[in-house]
């Protein structure tokens, strides 16, 4: 290991990429919500208004985990605590 700081930054980037991967499962879940909602709308067109609002709420709830992954990735890239800890130790 030549430069520990470069190593920390590289690991942080890999961690950000891994955190973004949760988008796969979030998207699958949201696709399932939307497809089920469309199926039930096709079966009962008169209930489509209430189904649509329930679908939006379900999508929003499912999206939360994807957003958390995104935030972890952003924190890893732009506000990484490990880098500042390392720099403090070097200075101190």
């Amino acid at each position: 290991m030549q430069d520990p700081l470069a190593f920390i930054i590289a690991i942080a980037h890999i961690a950000a990429a891994l955190a973004s991967l949760n988008g796969i499962l979030t998207t699958l879940g949201q696709g399932k919500v939307a497809s089920t909602a469309i199926e039930s709308m096709a079966r009962q067109p008169e209930a489509s208004d209430s189904i649509r609002s329930a679908m939006f709420i379900g999508l929003a709830m499912g999206e939360t985990s994807g957003i958390y992954g995104l935030l972890i990735a952003i924190i890893m890239l732009f506000a990484n605590p490990l880098v500042s800890i390392y720099i403090q130790q070097m200075a101190g």
Partner: protein, 225 residues
């Protein structure tokens, strides 16, 4: 590439530093425009007639649609809160739109979204105590007093997830737009960003505004009934 929250200037009042950031300035700009619109509508209100026409028709349609929306999703009890939610809707949506005009959306700062979600948090509990009194407080100790810490943390998670949902969506759109502007050559920056702005700012802004409002009303209704 720059999507940081810049610090424009620092005020010092009685030894306490107050940072005026880009978020605050953009919020002021949006507040100014919305207040001007509100005053304009208020002045026009005097000349409103029994039979709506033109501008009056549009204003009445907006107010009526929103009243129906609150009544349907929140019930009769929450009708007095309709004014507050209308304000929140207009503010969140216009701050999303401000991205089109090159401003940094204020909702891409966690401070703004957390303030809005914290207001929802206060409303949830004050409405719960107002309408269900001790029965509501008893709900924290169910099914057994041992579950109190779990219920308490669950309640604290509500504003955090609400605020992070809005913040993450707006910030993701902002980062993608900034990446696009800084990566592609000038030729490609001519017409294509309009489509991207339409998707990330207008469509996503409208959906997230709706989601924030509906979830807030649902949480408050859950506490009040």
């Amino acid at each position: 590439m720059d999507f940081n929250i810049d610090n424009l200037w620092v005020l010092e009042i009685a030894g306490v530093e107050i940072w005026i950031t880009r978020t605050i300035v953009n919020t002021w700009i949006i507040m100014l425009l919305l207040s001007a619109l509100a005053i304009f509508v208020r002045i026009k209100l005097k000349s409103f007639k029994e039979i709506p026409k033109g501008f009056q028709n549009a204003v009445e349609a907006v107010v009526e649609t929103f009243d129906n929306f609150v009544k349907n999703s929140g019930g009769e009890k929450l009708m007095p809160l309709g004014k507050w939610f209308f304000t929140v809707f207009v503010f969140i949506f216009s701050s999303s739109i401000s991205g089109v005009f090159g401003l940094r959306p204020p909702t891409a700062d966690w401070a703004t979204t957390f303030a809005l979600a914290f207001a929802t948090f206060i409303l949830i509990h004050s409405m719960g105590v107002k309408y269900r009194k001790t029965e509501y407080l008893k709900g924290f100790f169910e099914p057994h007093p041992i579950f109190f810490p779990l219920n308490f943390i669950g309640e604290l998670a509500t504003p955090i997830s609400l605020s992070f949902r809005l913040f993450g969506n707006v910030l993701a759109g902002l980062i993608l737009m900034t990446l696009y502007y800084s990566l592609v050559p000038l030729v490609l920056q001519l017409g294509i960003p309009a489509v991207l702005h339409g998707y990330f700012d207008l469509l996503m802004g409208a959906i997230q505004t709706y989601i924030f409002g509906v979830l807030s009303i649902m949480f408050i209704r859950g506490a009040a009934e």
